[in-house]
């Protein structure tokens, strides 16, 4: 019985639809690609698979951001940093898999290190030829950064706009640091020209399909973990912190600990998103740390519906489809459209698209545990 109780807790009506669709996509897209003949409607062209796969990673990033912003009121304008760190961890593994197939054919060093005249692998790269190690690092690097950041920021009780500015500064500082060649992460050009992942060609259609399915599954897992957190008593405390931080403190909860935990878990989710993103796009460079990326992620969340999890993922998908269409059809108008979208959503749909959908069906059970009050940041 505990099983069904748990399921009911984790999956409300929106959640069932959300997880159902993702699961269907994770199974059907690769299956149809194998069965249906190329060119038929059921066979998604590889570039579409790659595109949606990428968006699913963005959706996981949006979900992780919603966990801290929508539920704990921490407006992070630097979540792209955690995404990029996860991406770099995966990129380093993929670089090590190139082996002697690089331009300089050096079996021990990636091309850019040969180019820089380095004689041996720097300490930071040790272990990255092992996939499990890289996978752990994709979680650990963003997690540790978030923990350290939270340790200082939350314990000093930095909140609100000041905290947002510091997160922004954090990702910008990382961008500058990763630009430098002597950091040892490929500088300006970043890491690219990947060949294999776990022995499979990264370019092959079957690999792309597998990565697509994994991204969908990771998004499901991220959703269920986030639901598990926000529907627990822990989650209630987190929402309480968002609504009335000092009241929570005077009830005896150590607010900074809760914030550090949520922030760290969220950063690790973002790291997983980045790690899945990099093999699908074939490159990771310091541009991923750019503050604008983190700000876009905030827009995805507010468009989809802050504090709804599924809405955040939906927002990421919709805004990115719009972006792809716009940058193709009307490239010079995209940023204006994005700005307009943000204003329209903030003014007319404070609960985002999902909030709007839910309010149109009043008979449905309330899907959102708690929607943020508008006044909070």
């Amino acid at each position: 019985m505990i099983g069904t109780e748990m399921t009911q807790r984790l999956l409300d009506r929106n959640g069932l639809v959300f997880v159902g669709l993702l699961l269907a996509a994770a199974i059907l897209v690769p299956l149809l690609a194998l069965v249906a003949p190329a060119g038929s409607l059921l066979h998604m062209p590889p570039y579409v698979v790659a595109l949606i796969g990428k968006y699913l990673c963005f959706a996981l990033l949006a979900l992780s951001l919603d966990l801290v912003w929508g539920y704990c009121g921490i407006l992070s304008l630097g979540h792209g940093a955690f995404f990029a760190l996860g991406g770099y961890a995966m990129g380093m593994y993929l670089m090590r898999q190139i082996g002697s197939r690089g331009v300089y054919a050096n079996p021990d060093l990636p091309d850019f290190m040969v180019f820089l005249n380095w004689k041996s692998l720097p300490l930071t790269w040790w272990g990255f030829s092992s996939f499990p190690y890289a996978a752990v690092m994709a979680l650990l690097a963003p997690g540790l950064l978030a923990f350290a950041f939270g340790w200082f920021a939350f314990r000093s009780r930095v909140t609100g706009v000041y905290l947002s500015i510091i997160t922004q500064a954090m990702t910008y500082a990382l961008q500058l640091a990763f630009f430098r060649n002597d950091m040892g992460f490929g500088g300006n050009n970043g890491l690219t020209d990947f060949k294999d992942i776990l022995g499979f060609n990264v370019q092959a259609e079957s690999t792309r399909l597998a990565l697509f399915s994994l991204s969908a599954l990771a998004l499901i897992a991220g959703y269920l973990i986030a639901r598990g957190i926000v529907t627990s008593k822990f989650g209630k405390v987190v929402i309480a912190i968002r609504d009335a931080e000092s009241r929570t403190r005077f009830l005896g909860y150590r607010v900074e600990t809760y914030k550090i935990v949520v922030f760290t878990v969220s950063a690790m989710m973002a790291g997983v998103a980045g790690a899945l993103y990099v093999p699908q796009v074939g490159i990771i460079n310091p541009g991923e740390f750019a503050p604008i990326n983190s700000i876009e992620a905030v827009i995805w969340v507010s468009v989809g519906g802050r504090g709804t999890l599924a809405g955040a993922a939906l927002g990421a998908l919709l805004v990115n489809f719009a972006k792809t269409w716009f940058t193709d059809a009307l490239p010079e108008l995209w940023l204006f459209a994005l700005g307009l979208l943000f204003i329209v959503v903030t003014v007319f749909m404070p609960k985002g698209i999902l909030g709007l959908l839910d309010s149109m069906k009043p008979l449905r059970s309330p899907p959102v545990i708690a929607s943020p009050t508008e006044a909070k940041q």
């Binding site: 627990s232 209630k236 968002r242 929570t248 005077f250 005896g252 150590r254 600990t257 708690a370």
Partner: protein
């Protein structure tokens, strides 16, 4: 420790403030404030604006650090170096002047979060619900007259109901000492009378400190009164006694 452990006034007290001073940018909010509260006692604190009433609560609950002086709880716990959460865990509850509840939680959940239970992140993330939780919540909703509103969001309550919900949360916390800041500000006369009754009920098994401007309400409570003025105690005693004190009259009427 600057206070001798065998000081009988200290060891028999629930709350003990001795010579507490605080200043903000040169402004002395508290000057050598001394106050002793016995276990089980209910005390009303009155005083004009800027007398230091809220600062005193901030000092006791760990929100503000004292520049000097001793602050002891239950005769042995030095509060001057603890944070809000630790002091709350020792058994000090606080009600704010403006009703502060968790607006996007239901009335039920507001009480649930306040219920005395392990507060650590691990306990709330993985802990199981204690069996008697329901009954404890029921009892508190009964006392605070909110039983019919239990499934509503706190945001939808009236001002007076929010005040009671917050008092209910304090009850759920089951503190040894309750600090209540202007509980009847903005309430109707009927609500004020009900609140006085509620507080007297609470005072039967908790120690309570009430800060209030409303003299009728203080009279309703019928407890010992401490008058604060410019950060220290001006007078102490029964309400009739202190309101006959020429210094108190001067402070209140002289403005």
């Amino acid at each position: 420790m600057s206070v001798a452990a065998d000081n009988p006034v200290l060891t028999s007290s629930l709350l003990y403030l001795d010579g507490v001073s605080v200043s903000f940018d040169g402004y002395k909010a508290l000057r050598e404030l001394s106050l002793v509260l016995a276990p089980g006692e209910m005390r009303a604190i009155i005083g004009p604006n800027g007398a230091g009433k809220t600062t005193m609560m901030d000092i006791i609950t760990g929100k503000t650090r004292a520049d000097s002086g001793d602050i002891y709880f239950a005769g042995s716990h030095d509060l001057s170096h603890l944070d809000e959460a630790a002091i709350a865990e020792l058994g000090v509850g606080r009600k704010f002047q403006k009703p502060t509840v968790f607006e996007s939680h239901t009335v039920d959940d507001n009480i649930l979060l306040a219920l005395k239970a392990p507060r650590s992140a691990i306990a709330t993330l993985f802990g199981r619900q204690p069996a008697n939780e329901r009954e404890r919540i029921d009892r508190i909703l009964e006392t605070t007259r909110l039983k019919d509103h239990r499934a509503r969001l706190a945001a939808d309550l009236s001002h007076g109901q929010k005040q009671w919900l917050e008092i209910g949360m304090l009850l759920a916390q089951d503190p040894k000492l309750l600090l209540v800041d202007e509980p009847v500000a903005g309430m109707t006369d009927a609500e004020t009378a009900q609140t006085a009754e509620l507080l007297r009920e609470i005072a039967r098994d908790h120690s309570v400190v009430v800060v209030e401007h409303d003299m009728a309400f203080v009279r309703d409570l019928g407890v010992k009164v401490t008058v604060l003025h410019e950060g220290s105690v001006l007078a102490e005693g029964a309400l009739d006694e202190v309101s006959a004190d020429p210094r108190v009259i001067e402070v209140y009427l002289g403005r």
